[in-house]
Symmetry: C2
Subunit: 202 residues, 2 copies
Amino acid sequence: MIEKSPNVVWHRATVSRKDREERNGHKALVLWFTGLSASGKSTLAHAVEDRLHKMGCHTFVLDGDNVRHGLCSDLGFSLEDREENLRRIGEVSKLMLETGVMVLTAFISPMRRDRERVRSLFPHGDFLEIYCDASIEVCESRDPKGLYKRARAGEIPDFTGISSPYEAPVNPELRCDTGNDSVDNNVDKVIGMLRQRGAIPA
Amino acid sequence: MIEKSPNVVWHRATVSRKDREERNGHKALVLWFTGLSASGKSTLAHAVEDRLHKMGCHTFVLDGDNVRHGLCSDLGFSLEDREENLRRIGEVSKLMLETGVMVLTAFISPMRRDRERVRSLFPHGDFLEIYCDASIEVCESRDPKGLYKRARAGEIPDFTGISSPYEAPVNPELRCDTGNDSVDNNVDKVIGMLRQRGAIPA
């Protein structure tokens, strides 16, 4: 079939985020996990994802593993590069929200200013900050990658909590005691918050 | 409940792309639409998305509208910046594939080398190049944004097809005659290809 008037502009169909959320049966949100290295951000994010997936929700975890080697492989760890790293993660999260997915991010993101900048990309209520609160002592005793040891030895400059500040969230949407509480308990807390906010079915 | 041994590493649950594809009932793929400005890339991509959405598939269109103002807002149109622009789009597409989504991209992407570089990010068969083939005469006669007119007047340097080359795909997975065929006809072709490849149910 040959179209008679190829110049006529075809009305552009647009599948919206709302269409996708309705189909998926839950809201699209960003769950921004922040905390010290080894505070349990990634573990909690993946455990929450696992629970949400079993409930039929559409989810994705963004963390160093899938961002630093790809999208942000051109960036180092200077102050400027860290800012740009978080900016891109924020923008990718924003695109993913449009696909109807719950995005769970697990980055130290130590500076309040940087987290607020990412938050400002989203409509109110779409960005939920979850503080993975574990003391530096607990984190250092875990030290799964030996990073604290290396930082103490002066081998890693600007290491958060040792030689670089971590600015704890003042008013996060949720605080999880990842130093003392079990992972399952913290997952329950996150799921409870999502239910309370009407993001997932009660 | 207080965990007795917070130092014990919790086994990380991982929801995989395969899990998501099984739930969604279709494969995750990149449909990379390439062609001249006004060749109908965006129109076709959105029309294909609309059809796929109605079939229950999970989709997302990446185009200048949602990329240039956000993730790539720091990039201009120099050769270097265009390359970086496409690199990031490729990396974002890769992340989105992990979420189980069919990604439809609509960018001129005039250089073979750049398209091949993006293709190389994906396992064989995950990246499908769709050539939106419309002659420069047809595109120029459409000129919905008046860009060709401005380019002819010398107001836009390095405009693809006028003062900058477009390297047509040599061996694309699909060629659509977007200069003469109707949008619906081309949508049928794309859907047919996806069925033939087993990406969506027959």
